[in-house]
C-alpha cells in the first residue's frame, strides 16, 4: 500500500472536517476502483478503525420525521421541525450501520423518534421488520422504544407495537389543567383529552405505561398533584424533567425541588408495585465523563446524518454540532467521536470550576443551551442537581424490588 495514500486517508479522516466525498474519489482513482467499490472500501475501513479504537455502538435513535402534529410552546426541537421524513432506504442503512458497529454486542436498542414518529408509521414498520430479521440472522436481541405525543395512536398501531414488543413512552406534562397549557395542536387547542383516551387504549395492550413529563416553571406548584392524579389515571412510570431553554428563577427552582421532595416522600411510602420513578433511584455510576452520546449511542437524522444524540441533533439539524458521519460512509469524524468519548475538554472545564469530583459534566445538549459549547458545563444544571441531591436522597431499598420496565 502506498504511503501517500495512507497519508491522505489519515490526514482526512483525522482532520477537523473530513471531506469524505473527495476522499472516496481519491481512493477510487488511486486504486482504480469503481465508485461503488470505493464507497464499500471506505465504509469498511472506517468501520474497522472504529471497531479498533472505540466502544461498540449499542443503540440508535432514528429521527423518522421532522414533522409534528402539535405546537408545544417549549419544544426543544423548534429549530428542527420541518417536513422531511426519513426514507426507507436511509432507515435500512441506519440499521445496517448499527449492526456493523455493534461488533460483539448482542443486545441492541432502536428508538423511534421525531418530530412525532407516528407521522412516519410506515418507516417504523419497515425498520422493525428489517431489524428483527437482521437480529435473528446474527443471533442478537433487539429492543424497540418510541416516544410519542400519543395523539395519532390507533388500535392497529398499538397492536403492532404489542406484537413486536415496541415499548411506547408518552409525552404528558400533567393532567388537563397543566398539559393543555403547553401541549397544544396547531390551532392552539389542548390535547389532554385525546392523549388520555389513547393512554387507555394503549394500556389494554401495554399494561405498564411510562410518561415523560416536561415541567415548566409556572407549573411547578402543581407537580405533586399532577403525579398523583396521573398515577390514578393509570400511569406507572414517570420521567420528570424541568423544561430547558426557558428561564428558571430561584423561586421556581425552589418550588420544583419542594414538589420533588413531596413526590419522593410519597414514593417512599407507597407500597404498591405499579409505580416507578427512576429519578429517585440509584443509577448505575458510569465511570466516565459525559454520557453515552457518541460513545455507545448515536442518532440518525431524516437525511442520514449521524449526531451523538437526538437532543444535539435538534439544536441545528442542517449543520450538525459534533457531527459523527453519515449512514453512507459510517462514523468517519474520528476527532468528534474521540472528543465525545475522552471528554477531556469537559473534564478540564469541570476541573477549572472545581466541580469535577462530584459532577460528570451533565447533558451535552443542556450544556449547549447555556454555554453554546457541549463541553462547557451548564452551571445552573450543576447547582440544581446538587440542591436536589441534598434535599432528596437516593432510594436504594426500592430499586432492588422494582424490575426495570422502560
Amino acid at each position: 500500500m502506498e504511503d501517500e495514500l495512507i497519508d491522505l486517508i489519515v490526514g482526512d479522516l483525522f482532520s477537523e472536517s473530513p471531506n469524505i466525498i473527495k476522499l472516496q474519489k481519491t481512493i477510487g482513482n488511486k486504486l482504480k476502483l469503481t465508485s461503488d467499490d470505493a464507497d464499500d472500501l471506505l465504509y469498511k475501513t472506517v468501520a474497522g478503525l472504529n471497531k479498533s479504537l472505540f466502544p461498540p455502538i449499542e443503540g440508535i435513535e432514528l429521527v423518522l420525521t421532522e414533522g409534528c402534529n402539535l405546537a408545544c410552546s417549549y419544544c426543544f426541537e423548534k429549530n428542527m421541525l420541518g417536513y422531511r421524513q426519513m426514507p426507507l432506504s436511509v432507515a435500512k442503512m441506519a440499521i445496517d450501520l448499527l449492526f456493523k458497529y455493534s461488533n460483539e454486542q448482542s443486545k441492541l436498542d432502536i428508538t423511534y423518534f421525531g418530530g412525532e414518529p407516528m407521522l412516519n408509521f410506515p418507516a417504523i414498520k419497515f425498520a422493525t421488520e428489517y431489524a428483527l430479521k437482521k437480529a435473528s440472522s446474527q443471533n442478537k436481541s433487539i429492543y424497540f422504544n418510541t416516544t410519542t405525543n400519543g395523539i395519532l395512536l390507533t388500535d392497529s398501531m398499538i397492536n403492532y407495537f404489542y406484537e413486536n414488543k415496541i415499548k411506547v413512552l408518552l409525552s404528558i406534562d400533567g393532567v388537563k389543567e397543566t398539559h393543555d397549557k403547553f401541549r397544544v395542536d396547531k390551532n392552539g387547542k389542548g390535547t389532554f383529552a385525546k392523549v388520555y383516551e389513547n393512554l387507555k387504549l394503549l394500556k389494554e395492550k401495554q399494561p405498564w405505561v411510562g410518561i415523560k413529563m416536561t415541567v415548566m416553571p409556572t407549573e411547578c406548584s402543581r407537580l405533586f398533584n399532577n403525579i398523583l392524579e396521573l398515577h390514578d389515571l393509570g400511569v406507572n412510570q414517570f420521567i420528570i424533567g424541568p423544561a430547558t431553554g426557558v428561564h428558571w428563577s430561584s423561586q421556581d427552582s425552589d418550588c420544583f425541588l419542594s414538589e420533588m421532595k413531596r413526590i419522593y416522600d410519597w414514593y417512599i411510602d407507597y407500597s404498591g408495585s405499579d409505580l416507578r420513578i427512576a429519578e429517585f433511584e440509584e443509577s448505575k455510576n458510569e465511570p466516565f465523563f459525559g454520557c453515552h452520546a457518541g460513545r455507545t449511542n448515536i442518532a440518525i437524522s431524516t437525511d442520514g446524518q449521524i449526531s451523538p444524540c437526538s437532543k444535539i441533533l435538534a439544536i441545528e439539524n442542517n449543520n450538525l454540532i459534533s457531527k459523527l458521519g453519515d449512514v453512507y460512509f459510517g462514523l468517519f469524524n474520528f476527532r468528534n467521536r474521540s472528543r465525545l468519548i475522552n471528554c477531556s475538554e469537559l473534564r478540564s472545564e469541570c476541573d477549572r470550576k472545581g466541580i469535577s469530583e462530584e459532577y460528570r459534566g451533565g447533558c451535552f445538549a443542556t450544556n449547549y443551551y447555556e454555554t453554546k459549547n457541549i463541553f462547557h458545563p451548564n452551571m445552573h444544571d450543576y447547582y440544581f442537581e446538587k440542591a436536589k441531591r441534598l434535599k432528596i436522597p437516593i432510594v436504594t431499598q426500592k430499586s432492588s424490588k422494582i424490575a426495570h420496565k422502560i
Binding site: 500500500m1 486517508i9 475501513t45 468519548i341 477531556s344
Partner: protein, 86 residues
C-alpha cells in the same frame, strides 16, 4: 469477478489500509505524544479516555473492563491540560 470475490477483495484492501493506519497511530504514540509509557499501559490519570477510574488497560486489549480506553490513547490528539496532568 463474482460478488463474493469482489467483496473479498475490498475486505482485503480495507484490512491492509486499517493496519497501515494503525501503524501510523502507534508510531505517534511511541513518540510519547500521547503520554503513554513504553509498554502502552494507560497512565490511569483519567485524562486519556475521560474515565474517572484507573483501568490499567493495555493498549489494544479489548478484554479489559473499560472498552474504549485503549482507543482513546491512540486518539488523544489534543495536548492534555495542566489540571489533567495532576
Amino acid at each position: 469477478m463474482s460478488e463474493t470475490e469482489r467483496s473479498k477483495k475490498i475486505d482485503e484492501l480495507s484490512n491492509e489500509i486499517t493496519t497501515e493506519i494503525f501503524k501510523r497511530l502507534e508510531a505517534e504514540a511511541k513518540l510519547g505524544r500521547l503520554s503513554l509509557s513504553d509498554n502502552y499501559v494507560c497512565s490511569g490519570a483519567g485524562f486519556i479516555c475521560g474515565n474517572v477510574y484507573r483501568c490499567g488497560g493495555t493498549l489494544g486489549d479489548p478484554s479489559h473492563s473499560c472498552s474504549g480506553t485503549f482507543g482513546c490513547t491512540y486518539l488523544f490528539i489534543e495536548e492534555p491540560t495542566r489540571s489533567q496532568l495532576k
